[in-house]
């Protein structure tokens, strides 16, 4: 039985999906809010609202999964932390296991 894919993000509640998308968006480079929105749109086909985005950013920042980069620009960029990378890896591994399990179930049908 695969590990449930929402386990590391479960404490984020409604923010879990957007939180995951933000971590994926920040995985390759730091981004500010609007760049995150565009990256999430590219991932999922839709943009979260600005309020939802910043609620998820706040939740991730509280957990030290992302951190702001000091800058004078009001569009403050964020980067993923080592903790965030670890959580993202765990999440992706769990999702891959789910996909494999679902594929094998479909093949058996």
């Amino acid at each position: 039985m695969p590990q449930t894919s929402t386990e590391p993000f479960a404490p984020l509640g409604r923010m879990s999906e957007v939180g995951f998308n933000i971590l994926v968006a920040l995985a390759n480079a730091p981004k500010h809010g609007y760049e995150m929105l565009l990256a999430i749109e590219q991932q999922t086909g839709s943009q979260p609202g600005p309020g939802t985005l910043y609620a998820a950013i706040a939740a991730l920042e509280e957990r030290r999964w992302i951190e702001p980069i000091a800058t004078d620009d009001p569009r403050r960029p964020y980067q993923i932390t080592p903790d965030g990378q670890r959580v993202l890896r765990v999440q992706l591994a769990a999702q891959s296991a789910e996909v494999r399990f679902a594929s094998s179930t479909l093949a058996d049908a």
Partner: protein, 236 residues
């Protein structure tokens, strides 16, 4: 750079809505969110999202300067809800007693209502004085333990407050509505009563030594559990 897509009215409404967020949130994210709204195309859907999330933030412990996942932060919210429930219950019981007094034709003489009001005023002065004294001590001796501070309201005083407030409520509900009050004032009077009880319950219990000590312990345990070595992001 400002995006030309979306509605300019929606954008200005969205930026105005940022003012609805709690203060700790605004201190931390207002500049960034404003920059985002100035850059992205804003439609009314985004405005609605901001409004909903502002309400959500007010319901979160973050509105009180606590991390959202902290049990201590939730305690603050639960405490506020509890105070309101107590206030509502006290007011309800006082209304029932007042209704029975009126049904039996007993009239409240002026001296009784004046005495009740004066007793309440005494409690009010004591509570505010305690709170002021506490704030002054906190500023003067920031490292003194909460339990060593003077001027805080003790448990017996809270019981005394409850004993004084309840007759005041009964008298207030039992006495006839003054003729000088306008019709709209008469309609909102019950809400003012409940609000008044809530405010006094909250202020008095918050000024108590036990509450202050408990809040301090909760905060230190919470910060240690979260592993904060410096100021957390939502400290007000």
């Amino acid at each position: 750079m400002t995006s030309t897509k979306g509605s300019s009215r929606a954008r200005s409404a969205a930026i105005r809505l940022l003012g609805w967020y709690p203060r700790p949130w605004k201190r931390r994210y207002l500049v960034e969110m404003r920059a985002l709204l100035e850059q992205m195309p804003v439609r009314w859907r985004q405005v609605a999202n901001l409004a909903v999330m502002a309400v959500r933030e007010w319901c979160s412990p973050r509105a009180l300067g606590w991390p959202a996942r902290s049990a201590a932060g939730r305690v603050q919210v639960v405490r506020a809800v509890t105070y309101f429930t107590i206030a509502f219950a006290l007011d309800g019981i006082a209304r029932v007693i007042a209704w029975k007094i009126r049904a039996e034709g007993i009239t409240i003489i002026d001296s009784v209502s004046t005495t009740a009001a004066m007793l309440l005023l005494a409690v009010a002065i004591r509570t505010f004085a305690a709170q002021l004294q506490y704030e002054r001590h906190k500023k003067k001796y920031p490292k003194v333990l909460e339990s060593q501070r003077r001027g805080l309201i003790g448990g017996w005083e809270i019981v005394l407050w409850a004993c004084l407030l309840f007759p005041y409520l009964v008298v207030r509900h039992a006495e006839p509505i003054p003729a000088y009050l306008s019709r709209s004032m008469v309609q909102i009077r019950p809400f003012i009563d409940v609000l008044q009880v809530f405010v006094w319950t909250n202020v008095t219990l918050r000024a108590s030594a036990q509450t202050k000590r408990l809040a301090r312990v909760q905060r230190s345990v919470n910060l240690r559990n979260l592993g904060y070595r410096r100021t957390p992001p939502f400290t007000d």
